[in-house]
Assembly symmetry: D2
Homo-oligomer: 335 residues x 4
């Protein structure tokens, strides 16, 4: 049985609390927040759980095994480091940290202390992403040659990070879950309509050694909400529309081939447009899956699906994308 | 009465023929193509029209006033130049030419000869674009601060130009029709899945002096067809979905403002989400509009909506985008 | 402060509990159910609330002012009668009772005892229905001449009532909220695919003295979920699509008129197709609205929006529709 | 080679002309209409075809083999009879005639004269209906137990027939093409908002000996256009949305079963919700298919898919539906 302290009881913290309260082999022990009204709202819903605004005392509490951090990005590093230093396993909201250097330091510390450190890449636990991975692993889709995501809506402007840090972690972690290959460089452009240096609209391209390309459109300024990912393989193509209630994934038996090199020059393309297949998806709540994966990682040592490698990979791309935006789209290498 | 020769009787040429045949003060006089089967199909539909595979003879024919060119991009310059040299007014399929230098030479020639030279930027004559322009001119939308277009489908790979040259001319000409401002630079990325140097997926960002950004997603490799443009103003936002039959334009009374500079730092945003308005659009066929505009330009000297400036502007962006793609997203200035 | 006992802690009971727990001037005092697992789940969420399987003791409790009944239809009458006899105000799940006779008896009893009796016609408290009523009251829509509802999905077959009793109460109560007129007769058809006499697909037409018609398509056997209502006025038409997240109501400035009697014969219709308007809707949860309305009715004597007249009207139509189905569509008068 | 005379060059006549002009073994010989402007428009498009306002002369022309009738419903019988009397094969717009008696007389005459008589039930030749039939014949769908069609839009009010005669022929002919069973009775309701006795909104239910039900919603007064058919089988269900451009047919691997008779009483239903499959459809124009089928019937004697039995069946249901509407939904038997 693992005893959990949750730090941060905002919008996402509430979802985490509800899920950890229902996770087998987990006890939601303490909720920490500095806003008294949030703590009283936590008490109303979970009368038996300790609420506190004292972080140090919470981390010093020997009966707490693990800490779940759901606070703004700039605070992730400091809080996760303190928790690891206090010997607690850590799950931290995405993105894991605000810089690659911070991520690397936390990872080294977790390895030294033999503690679990994992980011909360929730989407990896959705039925839709699981199904896409199954299809790709089963070689139904073929070699992936593009990933194109549109993730736009009228979003809350965040005070410490731009729209790429807010929305692209979903896509980077999903993309890395679907393919083995890692990008060699990143190109990004964006704009801050409030002129405060924090972009609210941004576009990111990932370049690969192979013939693959990935692109993310991110916006807090769209009047319509779109959550759509296209995954193109050389056998089939997938459209993942997360706004759909039941038909999120469509698999298109669609493609084109050039028969010979000579034909490539003349662009003689054979098109194939076939049936579409809408697979039934697992409907278990994704947050329940990640909560359970965290507890298993703690108790059995199993590597979680959303692990520190994924956390580091995401921060590397975000850091490069931000650098590229500030340099008007200059290509930034990822080593 | 203007007598027209149409060069190129492929997919788009057929649409042009049908429209010029129905345009007031125009006579469709001759159709030129080098494919005999296309000529016989033209004869079947237009028994009274001359069909020919002899371009020189057609251009030498004194009774022809104007030439409409609907051939592959690489041939535009040569054909348009020959037509202008022969003293004919010219309308040419988009993009107007394959390079900026070609465009500038044609423009100089047309001015010298006092002939009309116009590109076929058909979208400027749609009810949807006309309505957007009306709303912007009437200051309903406010200052435009972004334009984001997704124009993707399972498209025919073209032998001489990449997907940007095929699809982005629509967006560049629409954008320029809606705003006065011109970009200072272009950033673009893309990939050729056939490894023949002709990109089938590409992403283009336009940078401006002001706080505006424009972005185009172009793809011939999407299993779903999307034709969607977002135009964000500081008063209202427009979504233009060209796949809709009747409700193409939606105007969102939606926005956000930061009240003071201090608040900007703290990102205290006032959100406003209001009603949506779906204006009724003019349903006249756009090609009929541009055909009539060409005839008027010839007979009255009136500048057409789709004019040579627009033609040149489009080619400038296309040339810069292509350069940027080949340099992995390097920013290319537009002078 | 009104003290509430909730009878029935199934799917809908849980929603009622959550809302009454948050309603001003209300205390959720007791939850009654005969299923121990439901009671323990209630205790987990509401540790301070009494749970009980003893209905008589609950009704005998002097500190309880009102009873909310969320049980199967066949039990409504017995439970509501017992509650009224015990001097409690009563809100009862829709439809209010299983027969008109039962409804009339409960109404007489409530009037005698000067107690509130109201059905839970939740939809009357949605932003969408409120907006439709505002538009109609403001004479934006004109004279209503049809109401056509499609309410179909893969629904749970109910053991005691057919699909009309399950789904049509929503439409009857909405229709009656939007227009003053009451139907003179009902025609209905349907089928029971399980051959148990309980129809899972049914179609109901309401006939009026005026030139209005209303029709409801009800099905538990559709693979797609549709919740769509068309309201046609002689000035404008409304489409209410409850599956939409944000754009539920569309008002079409669309119509037709016959200019003269002679023209009517020749059917010379003037069509008008104008703009569409998507009004912003109140987003407050409807159940919170009805809970608060019940408490106000108890404390101030104000008539609730969802009142016993509406409850009786609904049951009258349901009873007539059922009779008509069993007689293969025979017209049944409503007195 | 069959020589065709087309009678009626209105909206649908133009489509028929274009298709017969392109049909193998057919020659579009003459177009008859009484409106001179229509005839001159026909001449413009088909300069080599004879146009005429003289019906008798056309029917007397020995070089004409067959007549295609695309005129208002009330004229079908008279025109078809004259054509058959003149020894011409006949294809007639749907519905075949305005009464069952007329249909029966034409059928007897065609049999006597050994001529082809077929209605233009175009939908039977669409890729969507062909695919549905294939799936049903292959026993993929199981026993059909409901057919529910919604066919509504802002339609042209017709001078001689109500909305059921205009729109329901599509559904009746499709339904009969998909199942062998014929209805025992019809129930229908409707209203005429112009008070001229011609209903613009109507609802029709077909009752069968078996456990099947069919229902059609027909309206000329809906601001939105819907063309949707649900076909429920006991194995799978089909949704056919004709407004979709490419994904018209969706097959849902969805169902429910009651395990035993005792369970039926207690309504223990096993639900099954599985994958969805969107088959690729034949995209050949349906009118080309029916034109070719007519020519084959003439030249080879093969029975066309849209044959006189289907034509008669449709008129029987229409006549019964009209009778039922006038009697407020009274059940009308079909012998």
């Amino acid at each position: 049985m693992s005893s959990i302290a949750l730090i941060g009881y905002g919008y996402w913290g509430k979802n985490l609390a509800r899920n950890f309260a229902n996770t087998e082999n987990a006890i939601l022990h303490t909720i920490v927040d500095f806003d008294p009204s949030r703590l009283s709202s936590a008490t109303k819903l979970f009368p038996s759980i300790i609420v506190s605004d004292n972080l140090d005392a919470t981390l010093a509490n020997k009966s707490i095994d693990a800490v779940v951090i759901a606070t703004p990005v700039f605070s992730h590093y400091k809080l996760a480091k303190a928790a690891l230093m206090a010997g607690k396993h850590v799950m931290v909201e995405k993105p894991m940290t605000a810089t690659v250097a911070e991520a690397e330091e936390l990872i080294a510390l977790a390895q030294l202390k033999k503690l679990v450190l994992m980011p909360d890449h929730t989407f990896l636990y959705t039925g839709a992403v699981q199904k896409m991975r199954q299809l790709i692993v089963a070689q139904e889709i073929g070699v992936i040659n593009y990933y194109d995501s549109t993730r736009i809506n009228l979003g809350l402007f965040q005070p410490d990070v731009n729209v790429v840090w807010d929305l692209a972690p979903h896509d980077i972690s999903i993309l890395y879950h679907l393919t083995e290959e890692r990008p060699v460089s990143v190109t990004a452009t964006g704009i801050s309509h409030l002129n405060n240096g924090i972009e609210n609209v941004a576009f990111v391209t990932l370049h690969f050694q192979s013939n693959m390309i990935a692109h993310f459109s991110c916006s807090w300024s769209s009047p319509v909400k779109i959550r759509q990912i296209l995954v193109g393989g050389d056998k089939k193509m997938i459209v993942y529309d997360d706004n759909q209630v039941t038909e999120k994934i469509k698999v298109y038996d669609t493609g084109y081939t050039a028969k010979s090199d000579e034909e490539k020059q003349r662009i003689l393309i054979d098109y194939r447009v076939g049936d579409i297949y809408v697979p039934k998806l697992e409907t278990k709540e994704a947050l329940a899956g990640i909560a359970s994966d965290f507890i298993q990682a703690i108790t059995t040592g199993k590597e979680p699906v959303s692990n520190w490698k994924s956390g580091l990979d995401v921060v590397k791309v975000l850091e490069a994308a931000q650098k590229s935006i500030k340099l008007n789209g200059k290509e930034i290498r990822i080593e």
